[in-house]
Amino acid sequence: MTDQLSTAAPAPVLEARGVGKTFTGVAALQGVDFTLRAGESLALMGENGAGKSTLIKVLTGVYQPDEGQIFLHGEPASFAKPVDAQHAGISTIYQEVNLVPLMTVAQNIFLGREPRNRFGLIDFRKMQEDARALLATYDIHVDVRRPLRSLALGMQQMVALARAVSIDARVVIMDEPTSSLEAREVETLFRVIGMLRSQGIAIVYVSHRMDEIFAICETVTVLRDGKVVHNGRLTDLSRVELVALMLGRSVEKVKRGGVTAFGEVKEGEGEPVLTARDLSRKHQISGIGLDIRPGEVVGLGGLLGSGRSETLKAMAGVMQLDEGSLTVDGKRVRSGSVAAAIKAGVVMLPEDRKAEGIVPNLSIRDNIVLAALPRLSRAGFTSRAKQDAIVDVFMKRLRIKAASPNQVVSELSGGNQQKVMIARWLAMNPKVLLLDEPTRGIDVGAKAEVQALINELADEGLAIVLVSSELEEVVEGSARVVVLRDGSVERELRGSEVTEQHLMAALVGENHAPADESPAEIKERL
């Protein structure tokens, strides 16, 4: 597929020349040049705030550029709204599946352009046949009469993709399409992307995941502070060089830091603070046992349906258990009650920070003290002084960047919101911290800070359970990794076993990692 680029460079499909966009005096994009050719897959990289999403919005008609010009097939083009861009052949796949859950697969694919019979009425039979045929071309076989929400997330994303390309798209922009997908689903997505490229469709791919970028993209455009800092073939760059470009630091500096910001990790000693035995819930998890000691970070590995999030939820009291017991410091904790779990010292950072974590309309202060409020109150009356004392400590310690504690939390960046969430739980003096994807969707800089913080908290004696879909985060951040598969414990990796190879082998249920296989090769087979 790479030879498409080398043999003869096809004409550009989509181009931006000197594009600039300013919001209330702040330049989000400055003189951006960008070229996309037919059949090309281009990685758009940059930290949060680098201008990636602004550029995408300019290309898809959500924003109009203040200066510069967009060219489509060499002709100047301007899109007043997203529909115009779609009609011009530019489709976008978003992080969250943007389809209608209640409607069927076929309805979703043909929304807004339903086939009609000669009376002008919708021809559902034809619609279903067409939908089936369309999906079959990508080797996807699913009952198109099923409501979309009954499908797995990955399949929903596939339907979104099928819809996008069936509108005669020449360019498909994917904004973190895999952030909620399972490894296996990602493979299918990549296969479909390959098929699209062979049809001459150009792909713009935005992702924080380096593995994916290097697996499917040939060229890369790196943005930093609203400017293009690099344009070229991806094969000419190493990962470290790419990260260095994004961060604007020297390669040596990045190398020294490793891929993640975790320092040394060690197993905890002494009696376990948390003991879980035989945690079970029908269809979700069965017989899961865990021991977590103070001062250690235990990774909870597993694929998406493996029960890793469910295990966290069970321990945090969010999910009612059918069977099993949870003891903290020798005391049994009632299942299915968040309040009971918190009282026992077990707290969880939920996966979906925006929907389940922050209360968007409240201030940083209110968000931090939310759970601790009864302790900071007397007879139900709140004490501002007590709140301020706590908020002050945590804002300083976690380096939360904000104008003041009164700032509304929804105005903060993802990384700072995550820190607010961590502060909320630290204010409860927890014994066990359960982290579900603590660095998802936050930029590289904040990610490093959060990772360093996890380290620091463990050093101070907190017991931490870490769930992450990024292998390197689990491997580098955890002293040992408990791997789940199909809702039960598959195996536990300790010490020198904590490597990407072993972890991946365990994820798919192989007991020993073949020594001669590289991680990429194992991934290939997933």
Binding site: G317, I358, V359, P360, L362, L370, A371, T382
Partner: protein, 322 residues
């Protein structure tokens, strides 16, 4: 549009718009008073204000409860029915004295609040239909309790609530002021108040933070019903009669209007107690001003409609930002 626009940082709004959003209702009151000062004879008198305050009390008290409910992203359409029920209960027990009768009336109203809260918090029914069903059923129950009859209430102690004054200030107005104060403290100074707005801001996040979401929600619907019951009692005292067929009719609309023009967004997560008071006052003053100028009631209703639209239009930017 919301999805696209909410992802976009809105450009900075003009200072004038922000000012209007925050203080529009107070400004409107000031302008209205100014207008009346020059163009309406006998408007700016103590007597007139006493009348206006007395008249605004029921709506104001109901609106206080409504503000709490709206703060949780809910709504309560049953407040009028609750007023009717509490009015219907009064004559049954007035023989035991005014206070026991009033307490029983409030308790009866609270039962409706409990039913609302249970359906909404425990079963997960949407507030609008849950309270709609109790709005319909509640008034029916009130009428059955009252044997579908208007009953006059003559207990002097009870009637004092409608007529008595301290230093020229009517009891009912004093009671309303106390309730405003209590609700303001509840919202701004208590754990409960913070939990209330957190639930309105993000119910799921509140649940995961270990807040007693269900308990708070049920309590709020009961509180709202209790406030509406008090309004029903005051209204009964003022009329010297229990009129369950008409008392509190359409009051839910006035209350919602007062809350909304007072700056509390329907999307929840905020409660503006003072704004609600101002909103109720503004509605009352508009109606009074129009009456004093012999404008028919029909037009005052139309004016009210226009004001709602205007107030919400000005606040639109805030809702989008959320």
């Amino acid at each position: 549009m919301s999805a696209v626009t909410s992802a976009v940082r809105l450009p900075q709004k003009g200072a004038a718009l922000v000012f209007l959003q925050r203080y529009g209702v107070y400004l409107a009151i000031a302008l209205l008073l100014l207008f009346n000062l020059f163009f309406t004879p006998n408007f700016m008198t103590i007597d007139n204000f006493r009348v206006q305050f007395i008249q605004v009390v029921p709506v104001l008290i109901v609106a206080l409860g409504m503000a709490l409910v709206i703060g949780t992203e809910g709504i309560d359409l049953s407040v009028g029915a609750v007023m009717a029920l509490s009015a219907a209960v009064i004559p049954l027990y007035i023989g035991y004295g005014p206070l026991p009768a009033a307490i029983l009336a409030v308790l009866a109203g609270c039962l409706i609040g409990l039913a609302n809260g249970t359906m909404i918090a425990l079963i997960g029914v949407q507030p609008i239909v849950a309270t709609l069903s109790l709005m319909v059923a509640g008034r029916g129950i009130a009428l059955l309790v009252a044997d579908e009859q208007l009953k006059s209430v003559i207990d002097p102690g009870f009637l004092a609530l409608g007529r008595g004054t301290i230093a020229g200030v009517p009891y009912s107005v004093l009671l309303a002021l106390v309730l405003v104060g209590l609700v303001a403290v509840l919202v701004n100074r208590t754990t409960f108040g913070k939990q209330l707005v957190s639930i309105g801001g993000s119910r799921r996040a509140a649940e995961l933070a270990g807040l007693p979401v269900k308990r708070v929600l049920i309590t709020i619907y009961i509180l709202t019903a209790a406030l509406a019951s008090i309004a029903g009692i005051i209204q009964t005292a003022r009329l010297s009669a229990s009129v369950p067929s008409t008392v509190g009719n359409l009051i839910e609309l006035s209350a919602i209007t007062a809350v909304v023009i007072g700056g509390t967004p329907l999307s929840g997560g905020q409660v503006k107690v003072l704004g609600t008071v101002a909103g109720a006052l503004l509605l009352q003053l508009i109606a009074a001003s129009l009456i004093k100028h012999n404008v028919p009631d029909a037009y005052s209703q139309i004016t009210q409609a226009v004001i709602i639209l205007l107030a919400v239009y000005l606040q639109r930017g805030k809702a989008v930002l959320k």
